[in-house]
Amino acid sequence: MTARLRVPRAIRRARRSVRQRLPNFRIHRTGIMAFLGVLGPGLIAGLAGTEAGGIATYSVLGAETGLSLLWIMPITTVMLLIVLEMAVRMGAVSGQGLGDLIRDDFGVRWTFFAMIVLLVANGATSVAEFAGVAAALEILNVPRFASVPLVAAGIWALVVFASYRVVERVFLSVAVVLGAYVVSAFVAGPDWGEVGRAMISPSLSFEPSILLLMIATLGTTVTPYMFFYLQSSVADKGLGPEELQLGRADAVLGAVWTNTLAVFIVVVTAATLYGSGVTIETAEDAAHALVPVAGEFAEVLFAIGLFGASVLAATVVPLTTSYTVCESFGWESGISRKFSEAPVFMGLYTALIVIGAAVVLIPGLPLIGLILVSQYLNGILLPVILFFMLRLVNNPRIMGTYTNPTWLNVLAWGLTGLVTMLTLVMFASSIAGWLGWF
């Protein structure tokens, strides 16, 4: 008898090798799906950054102030770059999500505070995304009382019963439609010299409405959920410090994509709507920006892009939020768990979707206004999260030799201070306005 034996093992789990699962993406799918299959989390975070909040805020910015505030775009780009890079670095070096690190380092009280801030910011974002869904589908004559509950239930069920990644890929590819803004800008043919000058000539106004717009622009460009998502992704992928450059390139690509698009949205809305007396009150108004490229189909094109981006973000936001809260408190998480196994995770995930959808259904609320308010909130809360992030990224116990260099700290703290100042000035000038000092 000859025997070739291995170690005992009662039951082996069905083998699931990378090659068994991935061929679906690598071989059978071509074109956009294959391309998206190799995208990194940075680019996904960037792409998801131009969602309902972004489109609405940038459109209003262009329509109401023309090119006069375009100069904040380079600043927000730098800020987004800095924040995404730090998220990638922290994920790669510590191997932990931001929620994990906050809890490890700051203890229960600060974690509780940070999570409340995150819940408020992301709850508001969730509302904005459902407002985006409602707005997009109202253009296509679907009333929001039908569309919003349906989409909410659909997102919930798709992620729970199918796969988050399927949802992510489908809507990501839909959101690419928003590239139409770039074409539209060229067709509209603004004075590019003027655009260039506007980029580098800052003008400051203490008008509360202008300050609010600036805060909303910051809030929508550098949204907390984006870097929470990015850091968890990087940590979970097991990207090590040696692959940091790859992760950074990915994050830079994401940041540049989303902000290039942002600039074009402002340019094209400025060219088509600014000075025409149109203020953006509904999604149809915003859709006019695509008339130069799509003519009578502008509204449909806009609706498709807005819908895709909003659904994508409406999926990512509740997941990222529940995941972060649960990881920082040590509660069971995972979408395939039964409600009784991961009650907090499933409860939060469900609640964020239900609240997001329910607020949009309150009769009489203007959708664009709702989206803008949620972006103000994100902008106001941003410095709080940045504070935690900067403290952690400079902690050598966590980051070893990968802490921020001095120049980066100066820049990052400077920008954080600037955002905080902006918020304070906005509050001060609002109060002054109420008191009738203006």
Binding site: L5, R6, V7, S17, Q20, R103, D104, F329, E332
Partner: protein, 422 residues
């Protein structure tokens, strides 16, 4: 019950009742079932921390600590390597709850006098600990009761296995004993919940054989990540202990250079098995099969075979069918465990074996292999080359996955990880 959060921040008084600092941390010595408190870290004026040995402490409770002495010698105490600081190293950190087999966070730490010493007895991982630290114990727990939520959840220290994390400065000497008692599938579940860099630490605590079992329970992508985190020597040791088919599947996902490096470090016999399996196309019988099987000779008797089985101690997967080969390894028959046991002890194999066994060729399409196993209702199917020589077996679990196809796998819900493709 005394909790760490109720002690930290309380005043430390000397024998005469004069407060000279605040409790900042407690130090315990690991190793015993309930680690005894061996010292106190006191924050004194000027934001300086000093260490006091436990022998200086007369009493400690929620109102603070009282010392025997009035003179403090701050040089006489050093934190020893087997000691940890509870607040700094354990609180808020992740631990493995061995009993419930999951990762949880330490919300508070419970201390109690055992055998005349204050000891660490349990960690609080429940809502009660969070509420206590937020200063919301009263209203929070009432609310939890109204909502029907179990706020209290303690894990005895003996059921705790600390996670060695890059964040905690804890470099533990605890050899993860508790983990070694778990089923490999449970260890794998725990490993999956950990941050990638914490995973290797858990694995370091297991011997090669157990580590191999854990590996086989992991997702392919986690396998690759984990393997890359190990030293090549350790990785090769673990691969040797894995089934050749599992090892080959795992190595197929590595880069060519890495494959060669690991194969070079493995025992020649195991390495050549894996090499052989790597050469077959994935969607063929050769790609599905394992080279672990038992062959017997025609002239051996039933009793001889049983004796040798007893000695080999084979795995359940391999004991049900034995394959009868002639001198040049050509497959000529099979015997079943039942056939072997009911045969009179002195009967040679050739008399009770089932001749003309069902077998498949190395290059047969994987789906048809699955179909064959299903049709003939087999637990394993032998694979032969063109000359009829035995090369391996495909077991039912591997084959059925193919036969049932994508649809079966799709019905399994996917766990959410906030990642793109894994």
């Amino acid at each position: 019950m005394l909790f760490l959060s109720q002690l930290v921040g309380r005043p430390v008084r000397d024998r005469d009742g004069g407060a000279f600092g605040k409790v900042r941390d407690l130090i315990v010595a690991l190793g015993e079932e309930y680690p005894p408190v061996t010292g106190v870290v006191v924050r004194v004026a000027g934001s300086r921390d000093i260490f006091l040995p436990w022998s200086d402490v007369e009493a400690i409770d929620t109102s603070g600590a009282r010392l025997h002495t009035s003179s403090i010698d701050i040089t006489s105490f050093r934190q020893r390597p087997d000691e940890i600081r509870l607040w700094l190293n354990l609180l808020d950190k992740q631990i493995v709850d061995v009993e419930d087999r999951k990762i949880v966070r330490v919300n508070d730490i419970q201390l109690a006098p055992v055998d005349g010493r204050l000891r660490l007895v349990a960690v609080d991982v429940g809502l009660a600990g969070i509420l206590r630290r937020l200063g919301l114990s009263g209203p929070g727990e009432r609310l939890a009761r109204v909502l029907g939520i179990e706020a209290e959840n303690y894990i005895q220290w003996e059921d705790v296995d600390p996670v060695e994390s890059s964040v905690s400065s804890l470099k533990l000497r605890i050899p993860h004993q508790a983990l070694a008692t778990l089923h490999p599938a449970d260890v794998a579940h725990i490993v999956e919940q950990l941050a990638p860099r914490d995973r290797a630490g858990i694995l370091a605590a297991l011997d090669d054989e157990r580590a191999a079992d854990v590996f086989e329970e992991l997702d392919a992508d986690d396998q690759v990540d984990l393997l890359e985190a190990l030293t090549p020597e350790r990785a090769a040791d673990i691969l040797e202990e894995m089934g050749p088919d599992e090892a080959a599947d795992l190595m197929a996902d590595l880069s060519d250079e890495r494959q060669e490096e690991l194969l070079g470090l493995m025992q020649p016999e195991e390495a050549s098995d894996v090499r052989e399996l790597l050469a077959y196309g994935e969607e063929t019988a050769g790609g599905l099969m394992t080279t672990d099987y038992i062959t017997v000779r025609l002239e051996e008797t039933a009793q001889e075979v049983i004796d040798q089985l007893r000695e080999l101690h084979p795995d359940a997967d391999h004991v049900y069918y034995l394959y009868v080969c002639d001198a040049d390894e050509t497959l000529v028959g099979t015997i079943t465990l039942r056939g072997l046991i009911v045969a009179p002890p002195e009967t040679p194999v050739r008399e009770f074996m089932r001749p003309e066994p069902i077998s498949v060729q190395l290059d047969l399409d994987a789906e048809q292999v699955g179909a064959a196993i299903a049709r003939y209702n087999l637990l394993a199917l032998p694979v032969v080359d063109e000359d009829g020589r035995m090369r391996g077996i495909v077991t039912v679990d591997d084959a059925l996955e193919r036969a049932l196809g994508e649809g079966w796998r799709k019905r399994l819900p996917e766990v959410f990880e906030p990642v793109d493709e894994r």
